[in-house]
């Protein structure tokens, strides 16, 4: 199958790749670009393990064709920390023991970032509503919600 050339800004870096029209963004991120932090749990938009930011909007990378992203700004889990300085969400997930197996964790962190970027003071119900697109089977969600609440407070304090 003939490949198409696609240019994106990926985690702040101008990136070019070739892909087949049938390849999802998830497949290209993982198999062509080596960004394995975006996970595949269902490949049909139900689990949120492949959550990424596309022009600042939260999407499931499995439901986006890679060719559609030409010209887009993409952020994956690999673009959340700044070198070895973790994002407050990442730090809060560690401190609150908000992961067990860890497979859903990148998706939750990207999704939670999308929420806090637009609603820095989201309350518990809003957090639970927003994260309902991400499945976790280990934690029962309690510690994830608390980690997001903790990060929200820290991000607010850092701003003021």
């Amino acid at each position: 199958m003939r490949k198409t050339q696609v240019q994106v800004r990926l985690n702040g870096v101008d990136t070019e790749f070739l892909c087949e029209p049938r390849q999802s963004l998830l497949e290209v991120l993982r198999d062509e670009l080596g960004l394995i932090g975006t996970k595949e749990g269902c490949n049909n938009g139900n689990c949120g393990a492949c959550s990424v930011l596309l022009n600042g909007r939260l999407v499931n990378a499995c439901c986006v064709l890679a060719v559609e992203t030409d010209g887009a700004d993409l952020v994956t889990i690999e673009g959340i920390a700044c070198g070895d300085r973790l994002h407050p969400l990442q730090q809060a997930f560690l401190e609150e023991a908000a992961l067990q197996c860890g497979i859903c964790t990148p998706g939750f962190i990207v999704a939670a970032k999308a929420l806090l970027d637009r609603e820095p003071d989201a309350d518990e119900h809003r957090i639970r509503f927003w994260l309902a697109g991400n499945l976790c089977r280990c934690t029962g969600y309690d510690k994830i919600v608390k980690a997001v609440q903790k990060a929200a407070v820290e991000m607010q304090e850092a701003k003021s």
Partner: protein, 754 residues
């Protein structure tokens, strides 16, 4: 909240950040699907569209002729398997059946059963090639319901299967009932005749899936010298090696299994499915081959847990449970081996019951072979027993927790198999539940109700092997072979730090492959923090002894004169002689060479554990929706090594159980098609479906472990099914005996549409 009777520790009981945490929050941790190798090619499986059919012929020519296809295999490419039964961690596997489940030989026994596999240069070509394989089937009548399958005129899955009981064949004709087990004690008939109150009901639950977010994957490389390497996410690298050796008929030492990070297992990642396919195709095409299941394949072709049918008759006399009579039929799936035995042995364990008779049946049906799922067999059994207990308590106007306390098992109470309990904490759990803020709060308002339930799990021991190497700078590399599913790198390192009196941060744990450490059984049965923890403790004591010998050498005294305490070596008779762990580590080269502690053991003394749950619900009589308003988990952890991860187990298990109670089920069409093989239709709880799960950790130390550890992973999934059902009964006045208690069931019952 923690209620404890254990001594104070320095490291145990704290909440450090797990050693593998940063990798996992930054997306760098490599799970099963993340392995990338030079020359890697991709595999896909052709699966049966029928629930039951004979394979007449398989034509692979068109697939093999496709450009980019590197190999196609069928059951003919598997070596003939032995009929041996092997104990592989949480369950026993018959090797011929295991092999037949990898690739069907004569018949397909469920929809999704693997028939052929392809390797190709990319996954899209592999998918297309699979579609070009032509299989001719002779469809056969299928049997999907466990009670139907037990009838003498039911379609037979195998002509070679006869019912066995106590090791003997007891059926004259072939049967779908693979085995019949019995436990009995006392005089049930007499106790029933003298009872004050009797409850009699039949309960059914549906097949449900573990629902781990990471689908099964396997990558294998078969070298021309006959050595095989496998990269996979599994609960037990050694269990994968053992099964591979049997299926491929290769010596164990020629197979190296490299464990990747595991994205959830809950028992479902103990059997193998894809690994032999990857290995055989790799041998055929000379390149490493990688398989990854789709979510639909995970639902249709891995191992969910049984949906049993359970008949209960329970009696009370003078406020005590006086008799229990049970008939439990568990579906095993396509091959024998359900969790009926564990269900039968655990469900009465919270209580002292003198008179009981339990008949259990292991029954094959045309559905995927079941696998372990968190406390296998126990949640469905507790769904039955704990509702019966609830009804009896109501019948005699007793508080359901007081009734449980009065009937509680304690040290010395015998399980149904005759084994006496060591020190256990059921009474402590029920008392903590009674005293909790949750239970003392009122539950008010229409259509609201409260339910409670208890549960028990034996907890596993089994084999563990660890090595702890002390570095000259005083840091330690802990090499273990137990898969870390939810924080055991942390819980094992903490036990080593406690034993040696060194900082947690000075220990770097590593989960090694099967070439690099002695045998370790699966991470399952809630055994790792207990059993590998015991090995870590012994390895730590080994290091302490070696260090005392070194110090004695330096100080010209005997080893007996050297004391090791809190990471410091001392000679009490001479106060000038004192060295820290770090100082002595620095001198290892000149005092006899590297210091490494090791331990390989079969862990005895796993302490059984109990939990008691409290659920408040609100039922919407118009829509049938059940809202969980408040939920509390009380559990005896023995000693909670890392309380945050103990709480996490309690919360996660409770939410899985809530999903099982309210939504989750394998929905089969009459023709054996699974109608809901996706996360959209197989509805697991989301963050919005559950409240914060409150936890009360009770610590009644396990006398069988130096730090009192009991397993914690399984127990919390046992009570929720019944706790929710009891709460719904309290809210609606209606007893629901079939799971899931979905909106449809509730509306039909409340509006008498049944």
């Amino acid at each position: 909240m923690t209620i404890t009777e254990r001594p104070a520790y320095k490291v145990i009981g704290t909440r450090p950040i797990r050693p593998d945490g940063v990798e996992k929050v930054t997306g760098k941790a490599q799970f099963g699907a993340d392995i990338r190798l030079p020359g890697l090619v991709f595999g896909k499986v052709l699966r049966s569209p029928h629930a039951h059919a004979r394979i007449i012929s398989i034509d692979t020519n068109a697939a093999e002729a496709m450009p980019g296809v590197l190999g196609v295999i069928t059951a003919k490419d598997l070596p003939a398997a032995s009929d041996e039964v092997q104990e592989l961690g949480e369950a026993a596997f018959n090797m011929r059946e295991l092999s037949d489940n990898i690739l069907a030989a004569e018949k397909v026994l469920y929809r999704g059963h693997a028939v052929a596999a392809v390797a190709a240069v990319n996954v899209h070509i592999a998918e297309e090639a699979v579609r070009r394989i032509r299989v001719e089937y002779e469809p056969l009548p299928a049997v999907l319901d466990v009670r139907d399958a037990m009838q003498s005129d039911a379609p037979l899955l195998s002509e070679r299967r006869f019912t066995r009981s106590m090791g003997k064949v007891v059926s004259e004709k072939p049967s779908n009932v693979a085995s019949h087990l019995q436990f009995q004690g006392g005089d049930v008939e007499k106790a029933l005749a003298e009872a004050d109150a009797i409850v009699e009901r039949e309960f059914t639950t549906k097949m449900v899936h573990q629902g781990y977010i990471e689908p099964q994957t396997a990558t294998a490389n078969w070298n021309a010298d006959g050595n095989i390497t496998v990269w996979t996410s599994t609960q037990g690298a050694f269990a994968v090696r053992g099964q591979m050796a049997e299926v491929l008929r290769r010596p164990l030492s020629t197979i190296r299994v490299i464990p990747m990070e595991i994205g959830g297992g809950f028992g479902g990642k103990t059997p193998i499915y894809l690994d032999p396919l990857a290995a055989i195709l790799s041998r055929k095409c000379g390149r490493p081959v990688k398989f990854a299941m789709t979510r639909a394949e995970v639902f249709e072709a891995t191992g969910p847990t049984s949906g049993p049918s359970i008949r209960v008759k329970m009696a009370a006399k003078d406020g005590r449970i006086s008799a229990v009579q049970m008939d439990m039929a568990y579906e095993a799936g396509a091959y024998s081996g359900s969790s009926v035995g564990a269900g039968a042995m655990t469900m009465l364990a919270p209580y002292e019951v003198e008179n009981f008779r339990i008949d259990g049946y292991d029954v094959v049906v045309n559905k995927p072979k079941t696998a372990a799922y968190r406390a296998p067999g126990s949640p469905a059994a507790a769904f039955a027993i704990e509702q019966a207990v609830d009804e009896l308590a109501r019948a005699i106007h007793a508080d359901p927790l007081e009734f449980r306390l009065k009937n509680s098992a304690r040290e010395g109470t015998r399980l149904v198999n005759g084994m006496p309990l060591a020190r256990v904490g059921h009474e402590e759990c029920v008392e903590a539940a009674l005293g909790s803020a949750h239970y003392r709060s009122p539950i008010e308002g229409p259509w609201r109700g409260r339910g409670v339930a208890s549960g028990y799990w034996f907890n596993g021991g089994m084999q563990s092997s660890v090595v702890a190497a002390v570095n000259p700078d005083g840091s330690i590399n802990l090499i273990e072979g137990s898969t870390d599913i939810g924080g055991t790198r942390a819980s094992l390192s903490m036990q080593l730090a406690e034993t040696l009196g060194v900082p947690f941060d000075s220990i770097r744990p590593f989960v090694a492959d099967t070439d690099s450490i002695g045998h370790n059984d699966v991470t399952g049965g809630s055994r790792t923090t207990f059993a590998s923890g015991l090995a870590v403790y012994q390895a730590g004591m080994d290091i302490r002894d070696q260090m005392r010998a070194r110090a004695a050498k330096l100080w010209n005294c005997t080893q007996d004169e050297v004391v090791y305490e809190d990471g410091v070596l001392r000679c009490p008779s001479d106060s000038t002689r004192e060295m820290t762990f770090k100082e002595l580590a620095h001198q290892s080269a000149r005092t006899g060479g590297p210091i490494a502690g090791k331990a390989s053991l079969v862990a005895r003394g796993a302490g059984g554990a109990y939990g008691t749950h409290i659920a408040d619900v609100e039922v919407d009589p118009e829509t049938g929706k059940v809202t969980v308003l408040r939920y509390t988990v009380v559990q005896d952890a023995g000693t909670a090594i890392h309380p945050a991860y103990v709480e996490g187990q309690m919360q996660g298990g409770a939410v899985q159980g809530i999903g099982w109670a309210l939504n989750e089920e394998y929905y089969y069409e009459e023709d054996g098609r699974l109608a809901n093989a996706s996360f959209l239709d197989y509805r697991m709880p989301t963050a919005l479906d559950v409240p914060n799960i409150e936890t009360i950790i009770v610590e009644v130390p396990n006398p069988g472990h130096p730090y009192g550890v009991r397993g914690v992973g399984e127990v919390p999934i046992i009570p929720p099914l019944a706790a929710i059902a009891n709460a719904i009964a309290d809210a609606t006045g209606q007893r629901f005996t079939d799971l899931p208690i979905s909106p449809r069931r509730i509306v039909e019952r409340l509006h008498k549409l049944e």
